[in-house]
């Protein structure tokens, strides 16, 4: 067996040192009635080559881009990933190390994550970003819990245009806590209706996603003002990190905490995970942040180096009083994002974001021309909602046969929008792809 290096002789000599007769006897401290004496019922071991065949057959049983033209975003975006980043990310010094508890032999990870934190903070316009969280939904849930800890209040107002699945996660996290979540409705223009805030008191936080689930760009600054007037923390969220290549950053609009998803930054969709929870705050709140943080320091010789820091917030020191239970986070995804941000650069991310915007505008315009209604008229980034005629399900299926996935039906998430679809266009969709979509939905 490739992964078990012991030869029979080695086992024998080691058993002798240990002083037991055979491998089974190593488990003498396991009471007999705790022992499982059968054989696990698992498929017979495959050779590497059988595994290749088996996995290829599973993978071939998937219908994915580029063969399929998938016009779905909704929290998982198709963006190009440079071959250079994929190669670098495969280097086993990064892949096979663990949390850098021993900084002297982990400076590679540590500097890289410090750089990630910095670029993430710059992207979001914040002062401090954590090393990573599981995904956008848990980052946002933790952001809200953080706001509750800081404000010592127990109620949060959450836009109904935050990704519905994120709201479900928040719900799950909040269920046993006794904290309250109030949902803010949305307006006809596809933006959050924050007028209700006026009547709410004791809010720990107001949470808004921008671009929101409908792809519309929220007026963060105005909402931030409103939140601050209520002495609530302003929590911004996002699912499409690339948008900030073009849009004003949440930090510049007054966000106190930002929690969202970084998958767009060089991480493959991979059926939704692993992803990258991004969490950032102002420096003022840094000691309330959940999750790992890398800080800059010096070694005994005065040389620059990096370490995990502010550990007194964390579970391994503070146990039940920690700011979070997180331990293993999504470090390699953060590294992927850092490599991506380093590769696109300031100039590139702007061009790329513009291209996303312009392409999705093209589709929006063509759909309009073709007679479809764009549900909300607020400006969008690379996603928008369109209303298709009733009975569109059949067309949708026909399109699937033509290998086009014509967006995501909003019915399961917003029953009132039952014939509305959320469409996404990134740089990976060509004009030809869009023209084909238009042709097909028209026919």
């Amino acid at each position: 067996m490739l992964y078990l290096p012991h030869t029979d002789e080695e086992i024998a000599s080691m058993l002798q040192v240990v002083g037991v007769e055979n491998l089974d006897n190593l488990f003498s401290t396991v009471p007999e009635d705790c022992r499982f004496r059968g054989d696990l019922e698992l498929p017979e071991a495959l050779s590497e080559w059988e595994l290749n065949d088996h996995m290829a057959s599973l993978s071939d049983n998937m219908a994915v881009s580029p063969e399929y033209k998938v016009f779905v975003g909704a929290g998982s975006y198709e963006h190009f990933i440079p071959a250079s980043a994929s190669y670098l990310l495969s280097r086993s010094e990064f892949v096979t190390s663990y949390t850098p508890y021993q900084p002297e032999m982990s400076q590679g990870t540590l500097q890289a994550i410090y750089e990630y934190q910095t670029l993430a903070a710059r992207l979001l316009g914040m002062e401090v970003a954590t090393a990573s969280h599981y995904d956008g939904s848990t980052a946002l849930a933790e952001a809200l819990l953080m706001a509750i800890r800081i404000s010592k209040r127990k109620k949060v107002a959450v836009s109904s245009l935050i990704h519905p699945l994120y709201r479900q996660v928040i719900q799950t996290y909040f269920e046993p806590t006794g904290y309250e979540v109030v949902e803010l409705p949305y307006l006809d223009n596809g933006l959050t209706d924050v007028t209700g805030l006026d009547g709410m008191d004791d809010l720990a936080a107001v949470a808004i996603q921008s671009p929101n689930f409908f792809g519309c760009i929220e007026n963060l600054q105005a909402i931030g003002h409103k939140a601050h007037e209520k002495n609530a923390l302003f929590v911004a969220s996002f699912t499409e990190a690339l948008a900030y290549g073009l849009l004003k950053s949440p930090g510049s609009q007054g966000a106190d905490i930002v929690g969202g998803e970084g998958q767009s930054l060089g991480i493959p969709r991979s059926f939704g995970g692993p992803a990258l929870g991004m969490l950032a705050s102002t420096r003022k709140h840094m000691r309330s942040l959940p999750g790992r943080l890398v800080g800059k320091t010096k070694d005994l010789d005065g040389k620059r180096g990096f370490v995990l820091t502010l550990a007194t917030r964390e579970q391994h020191i503070r146990r039940e009083k920690a700011t979070s239970n997180i331990c293993t986070n999504n470090s390699l995804c953060a590294l992927a994002a850092a490599m991506y941000m380093a590769s696109v650069g300031g100039t590139g991310i702007r061009e790329l974001a513009r291209l996303n915007h312009d392409k999705s505008e093209y589709l929006k315009m063509e759909l309009k021309k073709a007679g479809f209604t764009i549900t909300f008229d607020s400006p969008t980034f690379n996603e928008f909602v369109v209303e298709f005629p009733s009975g569109f399900e059949a067309t949708y299926k026909r399109l699937l046969e033509k290998k086009i996935v014509a967006g995501l039906s909003l019915a399961p998430y917003y029953p009132e929008l039952s014939s509305h679809y959320l469409l996404c266009v990134t740089e990976t969709r060509s004009k030809d792809d869009m023209d084909a979509l238009i042709r097909e939905v028209k026919s």
Binding site: M1, Y3, L4, E10, M14, V17, L23, T29, C34, R35, F36, L40, L42, A45, L46, M55, L58, M62, A63, V72, L88, S92, E93, V95, T96, Y98, P100, P103, E104, S106, Q107, A112, Y114, E115, Q117, L119, Y134, V169, E175, P176, I217, Y244, K248, G272, G273, T297, T309, E314, H316, L332, C333, L335, M341, A342, V344, G348, R350, D358, E361, K431
Partner: protein, 485 residues
């Protein structure tokens, strides 16, 4: 002793990303623009982030150099206790990057994703079989996330029983994530001390278990590397008071095919795929922390669940008692592929053998080093063994000094100062993928270091000497945090 494994060689300094680059360089191929520019309200657009502009070669050199300052399992032995730093087979990386997997959209119609759903369905079944539990969710993203999921399930269970409880028993040897996860769920962790044998006594549990206690979180094997021999009796007591038994399964690597947690009174447990099932640790994740439950807790599992219907796989949402969702989508799918590949490569027999050899390796280290280092619990251990620095106290050498010196010898240090019940703990988990040769080298190195502690303790105090940096000032880092450049 033979030539030390550790030595020094040429590596390159490398500035921070933003200390490099020039405005106008490209490290990314901008896709061709095939549509007209289209303006966006100026009020909405910002400056764009202040990222440096680098060329592809700048980026490649940056990370190539950084990687060379790192040490991974592929570099050498990494006996970090409680972390199961086993070798991650390379074929698993290949499988995870198959285009059908890496390119899959989570919200595509399920008809387009049958391969992924089948894989997840089968993988859940495998975990059921290995744990002896009845159903598994793959949604939790790491061990601690699994713990939280487990706590939420326990909470939902008690809620359904009509009475919520306020406490949960957590042994003093528990990993920090256990009390933290319990607290996230609003439970007050009630500590319980392990006995002089390093395990939980039935009496200690009997004493504190009551009807306001939701249950117990046991790590089994525990973080001293010892099997909780009284687990069945403890489970009985907990169950008799209406509580549930949660098992932190992070240490499952010791007992695959040897103990089925479902058979010994466990109601709910998490597995750490990045430990037991060989997925790489990625410098601190991504991991994956599936949660397996017995039948009576199945209704509470997160949604959606993968269900088979006439040979097709669907994502079923209709579980009214479900705790809801703990991840936006279905968990760390890309990690799960690797664990799935691992199980298929190993099969039942090799999984069991892996556990046996993991335990053999740990006991071997324990026997070989127990004269050299103080061994607080001198009993047969499972997959790891815990020493302390007591023998070195006279030389004013602490665990940290030996740990740092190990680096010079070419080894990643063990976990140190955990579990907290052992003062100056040195927790060694070799894992089964270390050969006897590698372990012997480690033992030799440790003995040499203990020798140095007597003869020239300053070598240890000043260690490491071979790494790119010497010991780092963690105190100032925390006092005056500089978290971004």
């Amino acid at each position: 002793m033979k030539q030390s494994l550790g030595t020094t060689g040429l590596i390159l300094n490398e500035p921070l990303l933003w200390e490099k680059g020039k405005r106008g360089r490209y490290g990314f191929s901008i896709p061709r623009r095939d549509v007209e520019p289209c303006s966006l309200d100026e009020g909405l657009t910002g400056e764009g982030p202040d990222f440096p502009d680098l060329s592809e070669v700048d980026v490649v050199r940056h990370y190539t150099r950084l990687s060379q300052w790192n040490f991974g399992v592929d570099t050498g032995m990494y006996p970090l206790g409680s972390c199961t730093m086993k070798y991650s087979p390379k074929t698993n990386e290949k499988q995870a990057s198959l285009p059908g997997f890496s390119g899959a959209h989570p919200l595509a119609p399920t008809g387009l994703s049958q391969g992924a759903l089948k894989m997840m369905f089968e993988f859940g079944k495998y975990l059921d079989e290995i744990t002896g539990m009845d159903a598994t969710t793959l949604q939790p993203a790491a061990g601690a996330h699994g713990e939280l999921t487990g706590m939420l399930i326990i909470y939902a269970f008690h809620k359904k029983q009509g009475m919520q409880r306020s406490k949960i028993i957590v042994p003093d040897t528990a990993h920090g994530t256990n009390p933290a996860s319990a607290a996230l769920c609003g439970y007050r962790p009630v500590p319980v001390a392990s006995n002089e044998q390093g395990i939980l006594s039935v009496e200690a549990i009997a004493e504190i278990m009551d009807e306001d206690t939701a249950g117990i979180m046991v790590t089994n094997p525990n973080t001293l590397g010892l099997f909780e021999e009284n687990i069945q009796k403890i489970a009985e007591i907990v169950h008799s008071k209406g509580g549930l038994v949660y098992c932190d399964g992070a240490n499952l690597n010791a007992v695959m095919g040897v103990v089925k947690m479902g058979d010994i009174g466990i109601d709910v447990m998490q597995l750490n795929l990045h430990k037991t099932f060989s997925t790489p640790h990625g410098g601190g994740g991504p991991g994956s922390g599936p949660v397996s439950v017995k039948k009576h807790l199945e209704p509470f599992l997160p949604v959606p669940r993968v269900v088979e219907e006439n040979g097709r796989y669907i994502l079923a949402e209709d579980y009214p008692e479900s705790i809801g969702k703990v991840s936006a989508f279905y968990g760390a799918f890309g990690v799960i592929i690797k664990a799935y590949s691992y199980i298929l490569s190993m099969g039942a027999e090799n999984l069991k053998k892996a556990s046996q050899l993991a335990v053999l390796n740990a006991n071997y280290v324990k026997e070989m080093l127990k004269g050299t280092l103080h061994l607080p619990y001198d009993r047969p251990c499972m997959h790891e063994c815990v020493f302390s620095d007591e023998n070195q106290a006279a030389q004013k050498i602490a665990t940290i000094d030996m740990a740092k010196r190990l680096m010079d010898y070419g080894f990643h240090p063990p976990t140190i100062y955990f579990p907290l019940v052992v003062h100056g703990a040195i927790m060694v988990e070799p894992t089964e993928t270390e050969s006897k040769d590698d372990i012997d080298q480690f033992i030799e190195a440790f003995k040499a270091i203990v020798g140095e502690a007597k003869e020239d303790p300053d070598i240890l105090h000043e260690a490491p000497k071979s790494c790119k940096v010497t010991r780092l000032d963690e105190v100032t880092a925390a006092r005056k945090p500089c978290l971004a450049g």
